[in-house]
Symmetry: C2
Subunit: 362 residues, 2 copies
């Protein structure tokens, strides 16, 4: 399909809308800032590539000092293995013969691959698939308050670790969690207790990996974590500003959108609908912010329209045909809507990258 | 990317998850049902292809008797023009030199193309672009209560129609609306008044096109509408069942998802996150239904996880590794997440189609 991707050198004013665009300098600053923080606190940093899904951006993160990559699904990891990355942690329970076969093939070619597990069923499937000739590293996923996946107690974590260690084809690599925001104390307590129980069994716990972007700069409050994982920080979004993780100056992604209608004095319609922004609210009461137009509220999205309520907008809104910059509530999911991503600096397009892992939900 | 699309003949049990799958018989029945209703009421039916974005499905709709296609954006229309469809209505304000140029090229090769406009700015851009050698048909978009795009009054509709008619390169084709659900009376009143005002000016109003799936079977309450447009009906979803448009037996799309974790007695996690379902709530308090498990509530989505609250589930939920069928709140946006779509009949995959117009938001 002949989609109107811009050429490098094009002025940002001439980019087709709706279009997400990434500020190169803010992107580089976000990468550097988090890497510096983690280095200052003696933690390895492992970016979650879900936010960009682009091999070239992952390379920037590795070059800045990241220890490896975090992926969520097998096909997502395959894309980055294809691109030459040699240290990948898949923070997911991998189940079913087809996925396990693909995982085995991946493990044969990625120097340092690891997955997580939070149940005996998952571990049994992995144990059946892998053998001592080329074992797979498995971490135990721990629920430290986010109430998603994960074993519920340090005792359960220890028991599962023993199951992993007992399998000839598996290697127990440590523990992993995706914590609740602000849950540092619970993470630390869980990790300390689990390490103690494992030590009683004569077992090491080499990797203790925590994660999250919103309270990333509190990661030092989990001294037992050897590593931190985060994705959203690389582009940032409205929810990251609200969380205090960053300021509006650190927003690398905006969605350029054209005003296509001004049907009433207090209403505007933009061409960026849910198929450009997604309907992710993340606790906001509206679907995005519009840079430079405080009080303008994106009150509803159709698939190809954004309806903007201007009744509280503090300045006159642009006319039909004008382009505005939408700050997404959630950047990661915008990435997954587009086949390519436009980058810019100084008002000009610098590059257009393929979103290499778009759609890899398997 | 080597995504695990299934081959025709594969058992549905072996389809990779998460995966949307389309029941062929329900699809055909949905197409036939709506076509029969419109025929019975003397209305042309024009399907909105956004829900499937697949040329082969559009062909099924045309073969069933649809008068042409409805697209929302220029690049979406281009895909269907490429596939040979010769009657396309783009229900959008087309603005900006680049889009207008592409629209002109489209008009040169599509036998019957039309767009809508709701402002003088939009009409002026179209008037400047098209000439009498190959004019473009333009309908006036009317706001009949949905408060999205559209002129606000029949008087304003008439004035804009005159502007269109006055342009040598444009042809006034009639009026279009996307109404509020349950707004049949307002649509009828607006259409009747506009037609009367146009008649006073000696102007015909050949096409009066209304739309919507939720109250599609009330379209006969708008006798002045010559045509009805709808997209969602073709697959249906949870919101269509709630609206009374259809029953659960008419749901053609389900998302197959694997139970990847049972961390607690009242919690399950599925591998279908917002990147498979979207976060579209559409007024529901949860993110999808699970066929056969009433009371199981998808209470939160991460990008690759669905957390299911089982506390009110009326029967035991399946174990880790089992596959369940999720009913999406909103089917159209699921389509736009996947490069291909799997169809099935009798428990076996029948075909896998490219989602031809995935991502065409420009």
């Amino acid at each position: 399909m002949n989609y109107p991707w811009p050429e490098p050198g094009t002025s940002l004013d001439e980019v087709a809308t709706p279009m997400p665009v990434i500020d190169e300098d803010r992107l580089a600053a976000n990468i550097a800032r988090v890497q510096a923080y983690c280095a200052a606190h003696g933690k390895a940093f492992r970016p979650h590539i879900k936010t960009h899904k682009i091999a070239a951006v992952a390379r920037q993160q590795i070059e800045a000092g990241a220890v490896g990559l975090n992926c969520q699904k097998v096909t997502e990891a395959e894309v980055f293995a294809d691109a030459g990355f040699n240290d990948i942690l898949i923070t997911y329970n991998i189940l079913g013969a087809a996925k396990l076969a693909r995982l085995k093939a991946l493990n044969a070619r990625v120097e340092k691959l690891a997955v997580v597990a939070d149940s005996e069923v998952t571990v049994a499937g992995l144990a059946k698939t892998f053998d001592a000739a080329r074992p797979l590293t498995v971490l135990v996923e721990c629920d430290t308050g986010a109430k998603r996946c994960g074993v519920q107690t340090p005792e359960a974590a220890t028991a599962l670790a023993e199951k992993i260690a007992a399998a000839p084809g598996l290697h127990f690599g440590g523990i992993m969690t995706y914590p609740a925001v602000g849950g540092a104390e619970k993470v630390e307590a869980f990790m300390v207790r689990t390490m103690a129980l494992l030590a009683e069994k004569g077992m090491d716990c080499p990797v203790r990996t925590s994660g999250g972007s919103p309270d990333l700069f509190s990661a030092h409050l989990v001294p037992s974590a050897t590593e931190h994982r985060a994705g959203t920080y690389v582009y940032n979004d409205r929810s990251m500003v609200r969380a205090g993780h960053c300021t509006a100056d650190d927003l690398a992604m905006h969605i350029l959108a054209t005003v296509v209608s001004r049907p009433a004095p207090d209403r505007a319609v933009l061409d960026s609908g849910s198929k450009a922004l997604t309907s992710d609210l993340l606790g906001f009461s509206d679907y995005g912010a519009i840079a430079g137009f405080e009080g303008a509220r994106v009150i509803s999205l159709s698939e190809e329209h954004a309806v903007v309520d201007l009744s509280e907008c503090t300045k006159p809104f642009p006319d039909i045909g004008s382009v505005v910059k939408v700050v997404p509530n959630h950047t990661c999911v915008v990435t997954n809507l587009f086949d390519r991503m436009v980058f810019h600096r100084g008002g000009k397009v610098t590059r257009v990258e393929n979103v290499d892992a778009r759609g890899t939900v398997w």
